[in-house]
Symmetry: C2
Subunit: 565 residues, 2 copies
């Protein structure tokens, strides 16, 4: 990230602008920065999920360099809710910057659970947590005053933020919906929102649902779903999969299970962790006997338990995926088992994985219950157009910044706002690194920051490595080994080739042979010409790439390696 | 494919079974084989599309070996309709087996167009085409008698097949829907189907829509869509993208364009080819002035043309994709351009690509019109549950074989049939290579054939190469070069490492150094022990894999290469 020095030039008598920086934009990988003079607060620091081309990447974290470079200014990090795309990168940030964390109890519990990992051992003890929820009132952070109000979402205790700045008040409402009858939370208090919405400078709003008409049905509409399923399949082995952080869904499932006389077996690390955290905080007020461990389940009949199992998006290696392939160590899938998906429709990019898992279940003789053959199995956690526009008109801000949606969804949000009669130019659709500066009630785009994602594959991994994997995955690798006598810089004539993922060598002896001949002839020609190895290497690379493409139509990564002796 | 010798043992006095072999199953890559004694007919020979793990693969073709090995038996290949997943691999088969092709005019035109490719030059002249459509009556192919009837689908002239065999009559209805008011075809004649359906042994039926409730709306429901769009955006630069083989959609678009005073510019190879074929066959009866080439379009105002553009599924490298990235050679995207998708909802696996393309358009200042903000933009070519069950009950066969669907869709078809009251066991859900034998009116599963897909990446590519690419794409490659003196089999001490896609070498000097030390120490230890190079090589590979995984958590492909001198 390039450091923007703009504000350093302001002399004391001239007041600085309020800056909003969209560092990690898009649907996931959330990070928003508010800066006023010498004060910075950040909202959310979540992980992102790899795109189609991010080969072998587990997750991505937002660029932290602006925060690290301005460490002396940073007053705190506020987390809106307990979803990994909003808090899941916090421990990685804390390794570089010991910043106070403001979050509700459940988010704190998830972060603390991450900090138990070995890689965070050194920082574990020094993290400073502060409670942020509607009960704590106003928190002063430098020039900012922050308070929180409740919104509905698919994890309990989700927060909207009121951020008072010297330039005016911002309402920052990350992921939300309006649910008049939620299962665990209170309904979102629209009067409270109205009351807070006096002279709002800017509404920063969820926009994920901006392309979907109407409103999301209430969680309440699922009340009869699970009792009906337990009764319909009362003799069957039962598996229910849902999003691991959806604790209100878990409540509905466990409640129905208890009433149907089945004990709930949390299956898979993420579900197990969520159940533990939610029970510790009182969100799942069921007795111990409502649950059974995988070990206990072995001695219980299939019709006396229900597996609450992780992997509803078909994630490779998840408990559900392993079960579907008959590779789960502790659970044996019975013929006629019922597998219920309480999570669809799927987010983009997972449909083939879900299809794979379902196919495995069908082949194993299980029946899959999902939105195609059973109603009311899931409701989204993100408000649709009706809710997004309702909040927009209650808040009635001067400016709008859509967040938490794709470029297309943010654009649909902007169109929705303009269709409501708002003057063009009042909605800022921001890409990663883009900056809005507010000054005397007027907003304009500032100089964009250069932002670099950080990739993780076990540990941090360089973008160059990712780019190489992308190349390797397409047409493989073709390594030409040229032995060089280090002493007298002489090239031996006998070159060697190692190739994988390009052609089947056993059937391509001729091609490899011709390639070697080509290299040998280039080396012979160069002899006595005093050509340096670097130049010869480039020439060989170019010629081999050209030759291989001509012969096969493919472009493997060609590496010419001078092996010195 | 393993040759099944079963029927060779039958002596002449014992009649053989009728065998149905599902070679290329699933949604695409269609090939069905019917065999009776010394006679074989095949239905469809289409391409399949690569799965998530088929790295760098362009397309897949069904295993042709059963046909090639039984070449003397093969009487003909029947093609149901002009979609690439039903005919697109025919030229590859013809290279190995000059088999008579029975197809309607439009399918023949597409196949002939493929045969124009350089790679098929040698076979081009010798292909024997025969017309297959409802007008030609019964065709005798060995023990089989075949005739065709019209069905509705998203390409004109699609056929259902009546296959009379010594064991009874089969109705083979590949992709279809029932459209009472199609745009180009006649409505599917259900009375005709009823008339043909006397004593049906088996219905082989499309099953793709078996998980979707209700019936597909008629193509007619789109009649007002394009006139409305042309009128709404009468001043704008307009792009409409649809499936390249959907000629009836093209008719609707061109008809509306002509009436709105815009000339149609076919853009992209596949659209261009379809327009040419459809016009030659009279499916698009518009005058030359209804069209403009890309070259002509340069001199026309944006509001006097409409681009009919290929790439509705966001295919990389398609005309639409290049346009969205500002990389189309002949078309310049104007600010405020309108891009209309007449193809959604998308098939599995393409949503991220479509999202990418749409994001590019939004960033370029264009507006995307799709099912989220405009109604009646597309109807599917595949019947839903209502149509599938209607045909099933009209045909009322003894047995059912769902085809053309995923494992989960075929299973939903089976459940649908059983829900209609059909006795369990009458529906055969077949995986690739599975065989049904019909004998005296009774069907049972035969011995499954081993089936191997053939992958294409420009040219044919080995599955071993694909597997290597998969590995390379995950954690890269780590090549250890060990120089060996070929004369006295001595290993030099100085080893070398080449790695890509694993770690960023500039930051990992220590790791590479330690790996080299490890190899050197293994070599030293082996000295004097008379250990052969193969054993030492395996030992080095194993140790390096273990070491790298321990240090990084990653498992690159480790190649130990002995470079001989």
């Amino acid at each position: 990230m390039k450091f923007n020095l703009g504000q350093k030039n302001t002399i004391n008598t001239i007041k600085p602008p309020l800056r909003f920086i969209a560092v990690g934009d898009g649907v996931t990988k959330n990070l928003s920065i508010y800066e006023y003079g010498d004060d910075i607060i950040a909202v959310d620091y979540g992980i992102g999920f790899p795109g189609v081309d991010d080969v072998g990447v587990d997750f991505i974290i937002p660029d932290m360099s602006y925060l690290v470079e301005n460490a002396h200014k940073v007053k705190g990090l506020l987390i809106s809710h307990a979803h990994a795309d909003h808090f899941g990168a916090v421990p990685h940030l804390l390794k570089e910057l010991n910043i106070p964390i403001y979050a509700n109890k459940i988010t704190q519990a998830y972060i603390k659970s991450m900090l138990e990992e070995k890689q965070f051992k050194s920082i574990r003890e020094n993290v400073k947590f502060h409670l942020l929820d509607p009960t704590v009132g106003e928190i002063r952070l430098g020039s900012f005053k922050v308070s929180a109000f409740g919104v509905n979402h698919s994890v309990p205790g989700s927060l909207g933020l009121v951020i008072d700045t010297p330039e005016g008040r911002i309402l920052h409402i990350a992921d939300f919906k309006i649910d008049p009858t939620p299962v665990l939370d209170q309904p979102m208090d629209l009067n409270k929102v109205k009351e807070l919405s006096k002279d709002i400078l800017c509404l920063v709003s969820d926009s994920l649902g901006a392309r979907t008409k109407g409103a999301v049905p209430s969680e309440k509409t699922l009340d009869h779903t699970f009792p009906t399923l337990f009764s319909k399949y009362e003799k069957s082995q039962l598996f229910i999969t849902t999003i691991s952080s959806n604790i209100s869904r878990m409540y509905q499932i466990i409640d129905a299970a208890v009433k149907a006389g089945r004990r709930v077996v949390p299956t898979g690390r993420s579900i197990d962790k969520s159940v533990k955290i939610a029970r510790a905080l009182g969100y799942l007020p069921f007795s111990d006997s409502a649950f059974a461990t995988l070990k206990e389940a072995r001695n219980l009949t299939p019709d006396s338990i229900v597996y609450l199992i992780a992997g509803c998006f078909g994630q490779r290696g998840s408990a559900l995926d392993r079960l579907s392939r008959g590779e789960h160590r502790d659970v044996y899938l019975e013929e006629g088992a019922i597998v219920i998906f309480s999570a669809e429709p799927n987010p983009p990019g997972v449909d083939l994985d879900v299809e794979d898992v379902c196919a495995n279940f069908v082949l194993a003789g299980a029946e899959v219950i999902d939105h195609t053959n059973f109603d009311n199995l899931h409701v989204s956690g993100h408000g649709h157009r009706e809710e997004l526009s309702k909040i927009a008109s209650i808040v009635n801000p001067k400016y709008y910044i859509p967040k938490g949606g794709s470029i297309v969804q943010m654009h649909a949000y902007a169109n929705m706002i303009y269709d409501m009669g708002v003057e063009k130019g009042k909605v800022f659709e921001l890409q990663e690194g883009e900056v809005i500066e507010f000054m005397d009630g007027v907003a304009k785009k500032g100089e964009r920051l250069e932002v670099h994602d950080q990739y993780f594959d076990g540990t941090s991994v360089s973008p160059i490595v990712i780019a190489d994997r992308r190349l390797l995955s397409q047409d493989g690798v073709f390594v030409v080994i040229v032995p060089i006598d280090d002493a007298n810089k002489e090239v031996f004539a006998r070159v060697d080739v190692v190739t994988r993922g390009f052609i089947y060598v056993k059937e391509s002896g001729k091609l490899v042979g011709e390639a070697k001949n080509l290299v040998n002839s280039l080396i012979s020609k160069s002899k006595g010409k005093n050509q340096d190895w670097g130049a010869l290497k480039s020439k060989i690379e170019y010629s081999i790439e050209k030759y291989l493409h001509k012969e096969t139509g493919r472009s493997p990564m060609v590496i010419v390696h001078g092996a010195k002796f």
